[in-house]
Amino acid sequence: MGLNRKDLLTIAALSADEIHLILTTAESLKEVGGRDIKKVPALRGKTVVNLFFEPSTRTRTSFELAAKRLSADVINFSPSTSSIVKGETLIDTARNIESMQADIIVLRHSSPGAADNLAGAVRSSVINAGDGWHEHPTQALLDLFTLKEKKGYIEGLTVVIVGDIAHSRVARSNILALTKLGAHVRVVAPPTMLPLLIEKLGVTVYYRFEEALIGADAIIMLRLQRERLGQALLPSIREYANLYCLTPERLQLAKPEAIVMHPGPMNRGVEISPSVADSAAAVILDQVSNGVSVRMALMYLLSGSA
């Protein structure tokens, strides 16, 4: 059974069954990363283009590694300027790339909906690697994978997402993915960082970190973007850290076996204290290695070779 779709644009469009299929496929592909020869021929002769309009090292590298482990040819294309500046539209850029017979285009773009627009304009499969504040579906899938790996199941877990929910594609995708699989999602942030009507997405809203942590099975910390300071969202980094940094003391409020996740890159001492980041509860590096397996699974399932 494969994924019966051309593109992976959002978690919103996926069914729970499709998410399970991706996770199960990723489990069986994870073993490849442990081999001496870390390669399978599944995507031999296929071309994957990483089209990144925003700077990214870890996501791009993870996709590149995933494609290479499936034996695909990989091109990295990172236009330094946006299409608006250049006068070429995203669609034109992508059609150029498609003309080079790309089978899969992995897109990272600062505009919400960029992946949707692109997918409608090209025949290649499109994987959304982050579009503005909208979605980052592969991050959510690797978070689910890690959660399932550590906890054995997802349904019924209480997961707390902490930080700038309003401006976070990671938060949006995770909220959708976790609630689809039956987890209880709590979001906690200063109200300036919560988007309007967020509770309609099926989450419970908290403002006080300590209250949100009680009984938590997992905590997802979001990176604090320092440029938000200029937008009257926060008084200071110092005050944010005082109220929302995950410290060992705060972590005590969660369940004893609770795990800590972070999509990276971390601001140590801002949203997460170094002793938590380096503790046994932190599964942040597992997330990174699982990211490769999940992206392999996706490309494999989208390529139709499943």
């Binding site: 627009n117 909208h134 309007l196 009507l197 997405l201 937008q231």
Partner: protein, 438 residues
């Protein structure tokens, strides 16, 4: 301050057998005789002796509505500066295809219409086009930068009929106060696009559940409402007529309703798109559903309809805002705001008639008579002796909106493919047949 219309090529036209609706004046079956650019007689039968042969054009209006030509208080003709989107010629052609015979164009051209020479240029181009009557709206501040007042007296002298910094609204309330006080001397309305640019903060759609789901920066209802409230206070302070452009929220309507009860000199307009679709139209990142103010929610749509029904909202205006295809193909947040408005306004307004929100006569009042009266334009009436600006439309004809057939240079509309009712058959400006549906 009524202005006289220039007389265009005279032609005798008799419009036979239509239902003539001249809002507040006449509503019934009648023939209309137009001669030398003016309405000469409305009656059944006509008493005047008609010319014979080719000197007389006969229009069979059986089953059709004969109305004063529509008057649009809010459009963007893009010339000078953005001729790739629209020219005065193409914009006027689009207007008459939608039944609009008088249109007021906003000053956000390049350069901005903040001085006599731009106003002259616009009027010259409009005269060359020779179709719809074009009434320029002058800028409030130089370059619409919101700082120094434009030469408002000069603009009015050159033919501007109102002032506005539409598109770049005046944020400084003191500057707005002074502009309103200064406008008092000329008796022209001050038009404001109500938006607190700090609150809208680069947003691209209504702030609500859809923006939260799509990850699109939102424009809150409050960004409009705080400026509506400001303008109402300034109208109270100065006693000057303020006209609130394209209201989009329920609370804006409520504020205006209260202000009217208190007798403040305020009028308000609404655009067809704001009462026809909601923020849901943005799903799929449809840049043709990107406008400013943004499409709002169901309760807002309901409130706009209530406002039209009870007279809180005086006018239906199009905010005709053409943009080139390549601009609307940009990513949603990068694409410009606005849609082509002239050619879809009538059928969208007739939906309100079908729903029972307005009677047909009330709808034509909002499209023709009321806007003309508010801006003191020589239009909006079929009274004998008035210049003959007439639209003849079939209220029942069904058609499918096809942007490729727009007369406008641009194609941006969220209504493409909509099956609608109500089609303009003929448009007459100054007694001359300038548009005929074929």
């Amino acid at each position: 301050m009524k202005r006289t219309k220039e007389t265009m090529t005279p032609e005798s036209i008799v419009i036979r057998g239509g239902t003539v609706i001249d809002p507040g004046r006449f509503n019934g079956l009648a023939d209309v005789l137009v001669q030398n650019g003016r309405v000469v007689e409305i009656g059944m039968p006509l008493l005047a002796s008609l010319p014979e042969g080719p000197a007389l054009r006969t229009i069979d209006a059986t089953g059709l509505i004969v109305s004063p030509g529509f008057v649009d208080l809010h459009c963007h003709l893009r010339e000078p500066g953005f001729e790739y989107k629209e020219t005065i010629q193409s914009g006027a052609a689009s207007a008459i295809a939608g039944g609009f015979t008088s249109i007021c164009c906003m000053p956000n051209t390049q350069p901005v219409n903040d001085n006599e020479s731009i106003t002259d240029f616009i009027l010259t181009k409009a005269k060359e086009a020779g179709t719809a009557r074009v009434f320029p709206i002058g800028a409030i501040t130089k370059k619409s930068e919101g700082e120094e007042l434009a030469d408002i007296g000069e603009l009015i002298g050159a033919g501007c009929i109102a002032i506005s910094d539409d598109g770049r609204p005046v944020m400084n309330s003191l500057v707005m106060r002074r502009a309103m006080e200064y406008a008092k001397a000329f008796g022209v309305p001050v038009v404001d696009h109500c938006e607190d640019l700090h609150l809208s903060c680069g947003g691209s759609m209504n702030e609500g559940i859809v923006s939260t789901q799509l990850g699109i920066p939102g424009i809150p209802h409050a960004s409009e409402e705080v400026m509506v409230a400001r303008n109402l206070s300034l109208a109270h302070l100065t006693g000057v007529h303020v006209h609130l452009a394209h209201l989009s929220t329920a609370r804006s309507v409520e504020l205006v309703r209260l202000a009217k009860k208190q007798g403040l000199p305020v009028s308000a307009e609404v655009c067809p798109h704001h009462f026809s679709v909601t923020e849901e139209a943005v799903r799929g990142y449809n840049s043709n559903a990107k406008m400013n103010p943004p499409l709002r929610t169901d309760p807002d749509v309901q409130a706009l309809k209530d406002g039209l029904r009870d007279g809180t909202i005086d006018v239906i205006a199009t905010d005709h805002a053409p943009h080139a295809i390549q601009e609307k193909q940009l990513e949603f947040d990068a694409a410009p705001f606005g849609i082509v408005g002239f050619e879809t306004a009538l059928p969208l307004t007739l939906r309100l008639v079908e729903e029972g929100v307005l009677s047909l006569e009330q709808a034509l009042d909002k499209l023709a008579k009321s806007p003309a009266n508010l801006f003191h334009l020589p239009a909006g009436s079929l009274d004998v002796g008035e210049a003959a600006d007439v639209v003849i439309f079939d209220p029942k004809e069904e058609w499918v909106i096809d942007p490729d057939r727009f007369r406008s240079k641009s194609r941006n509309t969220p209504f493409g493919g909509w099956k609608v009712k109500g089609r303009v058959k003929q448009t007459i400006v100054g007694g001359r047949l300038v548009y005929e549906d074929r």
